[in-house]
């Protein structure tokens, strides 16, 4: 199995890796970097649990992209959201709204939600729907997820005032 050298910044930490050309970005994140927050689901782009953010803060499916394509780039996974032990506003919003049950899809849902608020800090219903399409949650029914996303801005500004 041929391996190639690649450098990738994950959650702000630079990594130099020896990556097999048979791996997708998801394989590298989970199996080589042991960041198992990002889940492996359908691996065909239908469920959304493998969602991560690229350098511009946009949501992408890590299961549908070749690992070596990401040489020299920077990504954020669910583990990269908290800083200094403090949860991100989106994570707090999900907890406050009970926007998860079994939790398997939650990393993908939160990373997709982050992409929505990165682009539109106070998203409309339509923008939330468009940004969250393709991410499936079998437990919550998506309503609480949408409430949490709408409240992310309020929690963010509250944290900002307190901090």
């Amino acid at each position: 199995m041929a391996k190639q050298r690649m450098s990738i910044t994950v959650n702000g930490d630079p990594h130099e890796l020896l990556v097999s050309d048979r791996q997708t970005l998801l394989d590298v994140i989970r199996d080589q970097l042991s960041l198992t927050g990002t889940k492996r689901g359908c691996t065909t782009g239908a469920c959304g649990v493998c969602t991560i953010n690229n350098e511009q803060g946009e949501a992408i499916f890590s299961c549908l992209t070749h690992a070596l394509e990401w040489d020299g780039e920077s990504i954020t996974t669910i583990e990269g959201l908290e800083s200094n032990g403090e949860l991100d506003a989106m994570q707090t919003a999900f907890i406050e709204h009970g926007a998860l049950q079994c939790g398997f899809c939650t990393p993908g849902v939160i990373m997709s939600a982050k992409a929505v608020v990165n682009k539109y800090p106070q998203p409309t219903e339509e923008q939330i729907n468009a940004g969250m399409a393709g991410v499936l949650c079998r437990c919550t029914g998506h309503i609480k997820v949408k409430q949490a996303i709408r409240n992310d801005h309020r929690i963010r500004t509250r944290a900002h005032k307190n901090g």
Binding site: T43, L64, H66, E69, G134
Partner: protein, 332 residues
């Protein structure tokens, strides 16, 4: 699950890429976003020896306006960037609609226009894992000699499921196709073969590099039908175009001089509906003519393949899409 064994190359320039492609020939596979290529490699439908990345080739990432007013788009422009491109939104809103209709935001964030144009055909049998497929006799596309979609067929009936090509056909777009030492231009309408296996007219050493869309004042609309529009491949889609000037018809209405109707996702290639267009050209966009045009669609459809829904539903859908598109054209 690891991808099938292959060698991964990331050429630094278009020339290097074309040189590699000419060396690898049949065993080479171009990858840009990878949303379709990785999917097919996982299902073991693609088993390339070499995968050549064009994702970061600067030559293929530009949108530019040519002196004659045409817009030239590089093949590895991301769908998200194109859907949000002001110039494209202003000049070709139907193209913007078709780009925004492709899959979900996540996939558009890595998927490219070139990738959507060359999208592999899809079928309910082949789009399953290799282990699943082994439970049935293999089909034409998987080295067998039957078609699971249309049992009596002598060839593969996987469908062309891409959204952007039909809008591009309606807009009379041209593709620039390059290989080492030569370059050719081809109207995108002639790019597709009516064959599920060999679905595009592209030699193994060739690469689609640009799409050029000529300026137009015509009205163009794009409509897509899917079970979940936010993510799914379409069950049926349509692009329609007509000019604003028009001729006078026998009963005093105005009828457009040029009409173009293109149906997608209903066959192995996009279908240009010539009979329905002819009716609108003679009678204008009247209610009666639109009904007549919708009735004429059946003749042009041929054998309807049945991914996602039954053929009878798709035939009815084609009728409805034509009616909706023509009514929308009238109001635009």
């Amino acid at each position: 699950m690891l991808l099938p064994q292959h060698r991964y190359l990331k050429p630094a320039s278009l020339d290097n890429c074309l040189a590699e492609l000419s060396k690898t020939g049949e065993s080479g596979q171009i990858i840009a976003g990878g949303t379709d290529v990785i999917f097919n490699m996982r299902l073991k439908l693609f088993r390339p020896e070499t995968v050549i990345s064009i994702r970061r080739l600067p030559e293929l990432q530009q949108v530019e306006q040519l002196p004659d007013g045409s817009i030239r788009i590089g093949a590895s422009c991301r769908l998200t960037d194109l859907a949000e491109h002001r110039l494209i939104q202003k000049r070709f809103p139907a193209l913007t609609n078709s780009i925004a209709a492709v899959a979900s935001q996540h996939i558009r964030n890595i998927g490219t226009l070139g990738g959507n144009i060359c999208l592999q055909t899809r079928c309910w049998y082949t789009n399953n894992s290799e282990q699943w497929r082994q439970g049935k006799t293999t089909c034409f596309k998987t080295d067998g000699d039957i078609c699971h979609v249309i049992k009596s067929a002598s060839g593969c009936h996987a469908i062309n499921n891409a959204d952007t090509p039909i809008a591009l056909i309606a807009l009379s777009a041209r593709l620039t196709i390059q290989k080492v030492g030569s370059q050719r231009e081809l109207p995108i309408a002639e790019f597709y073969n009516d064959d599920g296996m060999d679905h595009i007219k592209l030699d193994p050493d060739e690469l689609v590099t640009h799409v050029t869309i000529p300026p137009t004042e015509d009205r163009v609309v794009f409509l897509k039908n899917a079970s979940r529009k936010g993510i799914d491949f379409s069950i049926g889609s349509i692009a329609a175009r007509c000019d604003r000037v028009g001729n006078e018809t026998a009963n005093g209405d105005r009828a457009p001089k040029h009409v173009m109707l293109v149906l997608g996702s209903l066959s192995t290639a996009p279908i240009v509906l010539s009979r329905a267009a002819e009716i609108i050209k003679t009678c204008g966009l009247t209610d009666a003519a639109i009904e007549q045009a919708a009735d004429a669609v059946r003749e042009d459809l041929g054998e309807v393949t049945n991914l996602y829904s039954r053929a009878v539903y798709k035939k009815q859908l084609a009728r409805v899409l034509v009616k909706r598109a023509l009514k929308q054209l009238r109001e635009t």
